[in-house]
Symmetry: C2
Subunit: 389 residues, 2 copies
Amino acid sequence: MKNFTYVNTTKIIFGKDTENLVGEEIKSFGGKKVLFHYGGGSIKKSGLYERIIKSLKDSHIDYIELGGVQPNPRLSLVRSGVELCKKHNIDFILAVGGGSVIDSAKAIGIGAVYDGDVWDFFSGKATINTTIPVGVILTIPAAGSEASTGTVITNEYGWYKWSVNSVIIRPKFAILNPELTYTLPAYQIACGASDMVAHVFERYFTNESGVDFTDELCEATIRSIMRSVKMVLNNPTDYEARANLMWEGTLAHNGILGTGRIEDWASHKIEHELSAIYDIAHGAGLAIIFPHWMEYVYKHDIYRFARFSHRIFNVDVDFFNLEATVLEGIKRLKKFYQEIGLPTKLRDVNIGNERLKEMAEKATINGPIGGFVKLTTDDVYNIYKMALE
Amino acid sequence: MKNFTYVNTTKIIFGKDTENLVGEEIKSFGGKKVLFHYGGGSIKKSGLYERIIKSLKDSHIDYIELGGVQPNPRLSLVRSGVELCKKHNIDFILAVGGGSVIDSAKAIGIGAVYDGDVWDFFSGKATINTTIPVGVILTIPAAGSEASTGTVITNEYGWYKWSVNSVIIRPKFAILNPELTYTLPAYQIACGASDMVAHVFERYFTNESGVDFTDELCEATIRSIMRSVKMVLNNPTDYEARANLMWEGTLAHNGILGTGRIEDWASHKIEHELSAIYDIAHGAGLAIIFPHWMEYVYKHDIYRFARFSHRIFNVDVDFFNLEATVLEGIKRLKKFYQEIGLPTKLRDVNIGNERLKEMAEKATINGPIGGFVKLTTDDVYNIYKMALE
């Protein structure tokens, strides 16, 4: 087990009706003038918007709005948010939505207290020293951004999808009301669950030994996500299933499951190039990439993959043919994605081989990727090719 | 799943040599004049004492010392600590030891900023509003107090062992170096592991439904503790086993496993009366009480207990006789305690039936106890009697 430092300071407020506490929470964190940041407007249809406005007004909190965040959140809107914050002396940002809105809010937070261009943080030209604090009302359980240290932004001038990490941008609070997720389309639920299991996979596949405890926690979390998402899809008003799935999404990415481990994250980088260029859902891209990444790398540690097959999918261990055990696990993983309605091949989302080389090069622009198995440009290209059909 | 609020602000600094960071950490939390609080002096034999003093001096931190904390930490020493803090204008308390030292430090912290007697917080006469901040170097993985909101103090004037909880007393940081636990006697390791599994049991046995995810996490944690403690006892210099056990102890009690659940805590109260009067190790008392508590209450939810037997001890489920499945699980739990060298009957620690009635009355002094099954004085008395032999 590696040495590590761990703390997660995001205050989780979980359960029914908790969105009505948002004004109070912002006030308790010193917010007086808020940028209210959201996505495509579904919060207006659902009535959430009005409840938030009421809570802000009840707490005498002034606000301006910035909606319109898209999936794979765009740099251009972040820049608009930065301008707004500077112009209106915003002291708190409220993100209402899923990972895209939260990531956009985090980026605005650091951009608003910086003299240069906000992309400098993503390109490595600037380091995060401070931010306008961010609070969250989560409506899509998926990215885990509500309690994480990362933000991923898509620069549409060249379609770079890059990330930056710092404990400074971790949200102050996250309000998680499972009922707010009732109106999500099935496909978005499935994409969210795919993102969650991917967050655990990136931590689970490690070369670090002596991490049995976090191995067990990772396995418990993956099994739970897979169970919950099926329950939610079968019965969309099952509150308990919704609640489990939502809490699983946060814990999958709040850092605990990675303690003492060297994480991988190659598959995320490989996927980011897909969703940057083709604008597909991140969770769908991960469902396509992960099984093929596994097929490409499993020989690196056949024992860990055999354990994965056995512990996650209850595959009977063939001790005389561990490889068969591994491959059966990967097969069942693909089946899981298909059962929840996700693609598992690039052809499923109408992506051909035209830009695979370009994506492989962009994914490895800073050198080989992956903490578990180091992948070169050629490796990434091979994985894209395997994922074609 | 119940609504809940969760945050754990204790900064965990985990791994080899991390005790040398203590001066820096105290400084980062604003400490300038420290009460250095410890137990029986084993830290002097091990050399830890000198490393801490060096780190404090390197960071120009002034300190006074208060050693002598005993297991089942005493109110009298807490009062001495309170006096010292007031006299020397102490602004930070460093606890070096296990749960007893940390609990003592937490109590001193609240007593030192209060005009009345510190026992007022435990007897319910006063409420915690503020404290001198506490930091921890953990040397005994067990109580989880290093990242918890609780403190348990024994009032030797009447032998009351009472607890108080508040997020205000949660330590600012906890330094966890598994190597510092190498010199612990086997019995103390075993008692620590018993305390850890008990912390999870108290959360696992709940009437709340729809908590599948935390059920899985609880089970993963219990299995991991049981595996790690045996590895440590078999090979005391197995760093990885030590590291897993240490991190398990913290997560067993840092609050995550109880999110969304109503917890029980009857067994802890029943045990506290034992260790208050007979001064036995808390973990040993829990090994005696828990299996008998289970035998007394399992019919309340035979399905949960059958799951416990199956998931923790891999008991074959007899679907036509779930009771047999449950009893086999409880039998294996007793066997686990015995294998790690712990008592499972009061007679094992030379406790007879003389004071069982008195203890049952003290345990239920504020009414029936237990969030899973409510236990009256008679119930508690019956459990003590079952535990006799």
